[in-house]
Symmetry: C2
Amino acid sequence: MGQRPTILDVARHAGVSKSTVSLVLQQSKSVKESTRVAVRQAMADIGYVYNRSAATLRSSSSGLIGLVINDLRNPFFTEFATSFQMELAQNGFATVLANTDEDPSIQARMISSLVEHGVSGFVISPAYGGANETRAILRAAGTPALQVFRSLAEDNDQIPLIAPDYQLGGRLATEHLFDMGCRNIAFLGGLNGRPVTQDRMSGYLSVLKQRGINPVVLTGEATRHFGKVMVAKLAEDHPDVDGVICFNDLVGLGVLSACVERGIKVGQDLRVVGFDDIEDCQDSFPSLSSVSCNIPDFAKSTAAHILKWIKNGERPPSRVRSDVRLVQRASSGI
Amino acid sequence: MGQRPTILDVARHAGVSKSTVSLVLQQSKSVKESTRVAVRQAMADIGYVYNRSAATLRSSSSGLIGLVINDLRNPFFTEFATSFQMELAQNGFATVLANTDEDPSIQARMISSLVEHGVSGFVISPAYGGANETRAILRAAGTPALQVFRSLAEDNDQIPLIAPDYQLGGRLATEHLFDMGCRNIAFLGGLNGRPVTQDRMSGYLSVLKQRGINPVVLTGEATRHFGKVMVAKLAEDHPDVDGVICFNDLVGLGVLSACVERGIKVGQDLRVVGFDDIEDCQDSFPSLSSVSCNIPDFAKSTAAHILKWIKNGERPPSRVRSDVRLVQRASSGI
DNA sequence: CTGAAAGCGCTTACAG
DNA sequence: CTGAAAGCGCTTACAG
């Protein structure tokens, strides 16, 4: 890195002052076209590479956005992260993607490191648990920060949250299963007490209440493994259940794989709906019905919100709910 | 960011010069313990945040490593990326994770942006296709860069490559299926002509040749969908096949799901082995045997190589092959 | 062990 | 439309 040409070299080569080179770099309108071309040519000639650390130091804006995700191994978050990154790249911003593995102290350390690196903004899908340290770091840094999907514990609207309308999703899934003829619908997975679980479940509960039916709720890990295990439990404790709403697709895919193992006909004996609509839903057997959160659109809108905040100081509203829709596939009997 | 305290504020608060503060920041041994404590206290008191852009500018070392991945939606790469990041974080380096979506021009743009941001090193799992632009950018930047898993097209050992011993993996998988009693083993998936496909396949081919058996090779996309489609093709064109080696686990999981659909008993009628040993292998039905690349170890060793290069100028050998092992599960009849 | 000074490569007013 | 000068917050020799 030491021997790279600087704007001074470019300026000499192009026969202008270094201020002019800097203005070209910033796409300023006040540089004559012919000068601009000459400067660009000089850059190409001597192999100039823009040094953003220097620019950041002077202008205190890095063009870097920190995306901090609680579980990047979950395909749902991977899809979001990749869409988000593409969207930002198109706006000239680079994304620093960090995984916290659902650990609040790693989360605090990551965010702190990103602050040191001068990120211009944060988008965070927080880990469950202790949020004080993270909140303190963010407050001290004063960097624009958005939460997505979930919110930090004890959050009092300090950090704006953008999340899909989970409750509506739960309602759509439940109504769909009733429409398909189910009479005993269970809700499976999702850690008990977490806001996301409660939102998704409350959509389910509201439909059941409306119909005067008793709910069957089995909360737990949001994993394939949990889905598999719960099929056995259902067969034993709730043999009359003919439909399940899963907390997310991973649970749903686990249910599917256990049903295959036990010879339960999904889509007939048992109708299954997942949540998130990750890509795997299309390739499982049978294909998995799911509540789609429209990840590409969600990523686009999140990018727009954080960029507006960074560039124009427009802070998003403290709570934004994005639309969801039900995608019907074979697992619910379509 | 504008109003954050600087080392000068810390120095004033602690009653020392700013050089001393800087030395404390760099963990220098030549600062008296009592001074160090006082300085640390002052930092805490006034809420000092280290500004790496400034440090980078002066020292031209950012503590940032660019991890550029061709397909972050593939769980295999996600597992690698998360392990790698954790490993680097423990060494005081932050990882900038970028996804190129198998597009060489996005790859070039990403790398170029990371160079501007002053990353100290690159770890790249390259996209298939045009490599000239990427190679030119890396050469001009002069930043240490490592390839993992795959190599750029027309690579002449310019960029060191670390990759699992795919060939050995193919051999292990094939021998295992013969041991389990298979007589007609097919190789499924992987784009034709790609080095990774050829390596994995050549292990398979060598075992078949040794036994004087004709191979059945059906290359193609490395996806679940391709795996599903190929089960139909096998049933039609190669009904005698009783074992398959899949290019990767996604293909294998697709095979499993199609077999369930068609009532083919995996582990008896058809024995299946995947490649990569992603987490999903444990939760499919039946569970999927696979060639494990030991991702956590692989990530650790990759991190060690790039850090040694950056810190001590020790360039790794141009080709490193890491160990693989076969993980036997129900899909191969265990 | 600590301080004063120079400089990393940019951007930013300010003149002209 | 372009140039000369100052400064962003650090690190780095160099004295002492």
